[in-house]
Symmetry: C2
C-alpha cells in the first residue's frame, strides 16, 4: 500500500538563515524506511493564518503530516493553538501533562509561560519527549514535534511505533566519475520508459575538491524490477565507456 | 521598502533523504542581506503539475521567486519547460546559449540531451553559470538555478547584482546558558509588545555535548529600535539572575 507524508517546518529561524536545518534529512530517511515517504516540505513563518491554512491544506492532501517548531513557552510559540484552530477544537490544559510538568519544574518555577506547554488541542495524544519532558502531540493525521533537533529525534522515536507503515521502497545506485549526465541521458530515459513504475534518478555531483560525476538511482516498491533496472544502469555506464561504481559517491 | 521572496527546491533527492540540503541557508542569508528576505520555502517533487502550480502560486504571492534543481540534461529535469508553461510561453532554443554550449561540447558531444540545456522559456534572460556553463534563467520575477550547491552559488553570484534590493534588516542577539526559555518568556513578551515592529525571537539550543541555553534575537529595519530592544533583552537576562553573553552561542 502506498502511503504519503508531508513536513511543515514552522518558525522564522530557517527562513532568515539564522539556523541551518538539521531535521529534514533525518525525517526524510526515517519516513522512507517506514514506507511513508515525504512528498512535500514547507518552511513557513510563525504567522497564525499561515500555520492554520498550511496545516489544513496539507492534512487533506497527505496521509500523515509532521510539523516541527513553535511548541515552546515563548510568545512566538503558536503552533499548538493554531493546530487546535485548524481542527476546530479548543486548546486546553491536558491534566496528565500539567501534572508531569508541575512535578518536574516544582510549583515556583512552573510559571504561566511554562504552563502553556501543558495545553494541547482537545482530543490530542501527547508524544513523549525523552529529552526535556514537555510533549509534542498527535491529532488526527497531524504530528506536532519540537524544532530542536535532539528533542525532535527523541519525539519521533516515541511516535514511530504507532505510525501505520506503508510498502517499503527499495533503491539501488551506481555512480561514475568518468562520464557526465549528458552522455547518459538518452539511455537513462530508455530505462525509465522500460520501468515506468520505478523512479529512475540522475544526480550529478561536483565536490569542492574537484571530484565530479553522476549517480544514477533506481527506486521503487518492486525489488526485482529495481534490481533489473540497476543492472541496466550498470550496463549503460559500461556501454558509454565509463566505469560503473556501486553505491553512492563518497562525500 | 519591504520586499519578499520565496524559494522552491525542485526534485526528489531532498524529499527521499538521499541528499542533504546545502542551499537553503546560503540563499536565506544572501537574500536577507539584499533586503529580500525569504518568507516561504517549498520542497516539491519533479511532477509537472506540481511545479507549474507551485510556481504560479508563489510568483503571485512574493516579489521574487527562486528555484533550484531540475535544469540538467536528463529526463527528470523538467523545471524549464514547466516554468515556460506557468508563464504561458513556448520553451525554445535560445540561440546564444545554443552556440555557447555547442562550442564548449563540440559537435560530437553536443547530443540531443545536452541540447535541451540550450532551451529557455521565450523571453527569459540567461543566468551565467561560471562553473559548468549551462545557464539558469530569469523570467519575470522567477529565477531558475541549478540544484548542485557549487553551481547554484555561482549562478546566484551572477544574478545578485541585478536584483532590486529592499531595506536592510538589522539584528542583535544575546544568549545565556544559565537560564531557560520558560524563565524569560513573560519578560520577552513584554519586550515584543513594546516593539511591535520588530521580530523578537527566542531560540533554545541543546548541543550534543550537553551545553544548553537560549538565544534571544531582536530583528527589524529600524536600527535604533533594534539596539534598544537588544539592551532590554540584556537587562531581562540579568534581572532573572542569568549571565547575558553577546551574540549567537557557539555551535
Amino acid at each position: 500500500m502506498r502511503r504519503t507524508s508531508a513536513l511543515i517546518l514552522i518558525g522564522n529561524e530557517i527562513l532568515s538563515g539564522r539556523t541551518k536545518d538539521e531535521n529534514i534529512q533525518f525525517l526524510a530517511l526515517r519516513l522512507g524506511e517506514l514506507g511513508i515517504p515525504l512528498r512535500e516540505i514547507r518552511v513557513i513563518p510563525d504567522i497564525r493564518e499561515t500555520i492554520i491554512n498550511t496545516v489544513t491544506e496539507m492534512r487533506a492532501k497527505y496521509d500523515e503530516v509532521f510539523t516541527t517548531g513553535g511548541i515552546g513557552p515563548t510568545h512566538d510559540d503558536i503552533t499548538a493553538p493554531c493546530v487546535a484552530e485548524a481542527f476546530g477544537v479548543p486548546w486546553e490544559f491536558h491534566p496528565p501533562t500539567f501534572k508531569l510538568l508541575e512535578t518536574y519544574f516544582g510549583p515556583e518555577e512552573f510559571n504561566a509561560a511554562r504552563q502553556r506547554m501543558a495545553k494541547l488541542p482537545q482530543g490530542a495524544t501527547p508524544i513523549v519527549n525523552p529529552v526535556s519532558l514537555a510533549p509534542g502531540f498527535s491529532i488526527g493525521n497531524v504530528h506536532v514535534m519540537a524544532g530542536v533537533p535532539r528533542i525532535m529525534r527523541g519525539m519521533f522515536d516515541s511516535l514511530a511505533p504507532s505510525l501505520q507503515k506503508g510498502a517499503p521502497v527499495f533503491s539501488r545506485t551506481w555512480h561514475t566519475t568518468s562520464l557526465f549526465e549528458g552522455t547518459l541521458a538518452d539511455g537513462l530515459e530508455d530505462i525509465q520508459n522500460r520501468f515506468p513504475d520505478l523512479d529512475i534518478g540522475s544526480y550529478p555531483f561536483h565536490r569542492e575538491d574537484g571530484r565530479r560525476g553522476v549517480a544514477l538511482v533506481a527506486k521503487g516498491q518492486n525489488r526485482a524490477e529495481v534490481e533489473e533496472a540497476a543492472s541496466a544502469i550498470h550496463d549503460l555506464i559500461k556501454t558509454k565507456g565509463g566505469i560503473p561504481i556501486e553505491g553512492e559517491p563518497p562525500v
